[in-house]
């Protein structure tokens, strides 16, 4: 019985973690849609309209979040020693995002299938 309870708790935890993750992804997709990111990065996030724009689908979520924060820092006029990105377009979009938005959209992008890999 004791083990059954523990197993039940474990299953509940696993399920709730799964649900939280799912809602984050849905919220992330909503951010992507709301800011119309697809208009430059492509509907699948891996076919940008210009090759000079990055493929985002499948990239590490924490790197994508870092890039968005760097755009926020750049737009806020942070010193260059603070690891910034200065870009008028991306700066304008990134400043509209809350911390939660950044986490959600990054998680959603990372979950999309893409061609990026770690290779030497």
């Amino acid at each position: 019985m004791k083990y059954f309870k523990i197993a039940l708790c474990g299953a509940a935890l696993f399920l709730s973690a799964g649900l939280t993750q799912a809602s984050d992804l849905a919220a992330g997709k909503a951010v992507w849609t709301k800011l119309n990111c697809a208009s430059c990065h492509g509907a699948d996030a891996k076919t940008p309209i210009l090759p000079a724009y990055p493929i985002l689908a499948g990239q590490h979520a924490d790197f994508l979040a870092h890039a968005l924060k760097a755009y926020q820092r750049g737009a806020a006029g942070a010193p260059t020693s603070a690891n910034v990105r200065k870009n008028a377009v991306m700066g304008a979009f990134a400043t509209q995002l809350s911390k939660q938005d950044v986490a959600n959209v990054s998680a959603w992008l990372a979950s999309q299938p893409g061609p990026l890999v770690v290779r030497k």
């Binding site: 990055p54 590490h60 924060k69 061609p115 890999v117 770690v118």
Partner: protein, 150 residues
Amino acid sequence: MKLFKTMFLNQMRNGSKGSNGSKGSNGSKGSQDYAPTVRRLIQASASLALAASCALSSLASAADAPTGNLEAAKAKVSMCIGCHGISGYRASFPEVYSVPMIAGQNAAYLQAALRAYASGERTHPTMDAIAKSLSDQDIADLAAYYSKLK
């Protein structure tokens, strides 16, 4: 371009030497002084035309940049693989994050990113230093290499 500038300057110098020389040898005979001056003008304008066309062609070549060479890149990736070639590698400033996957990324984007680090549009201590050490050819080679690496 530098070469043509030097040629142009040399021609100007040679031209003026020539006219000085003829002035010296011909004394006050003004009519004979015109020839070297005219020659010098023609030479100068020819050089200018040459320099201008050269400037145009160098603009054109800057627009379509050097072509990436996959083989040449293999001798240049040593400075990339220590971070981008290690699964799970992370950077730590100002937030902890995985270094980006660059294999399979668009070549034009990889070039744009490296140029942005070199120009200061993007900043990151390690990437700034590396990007500033790369020539346009290095950047083209590495971008071609990583975009094809899948």
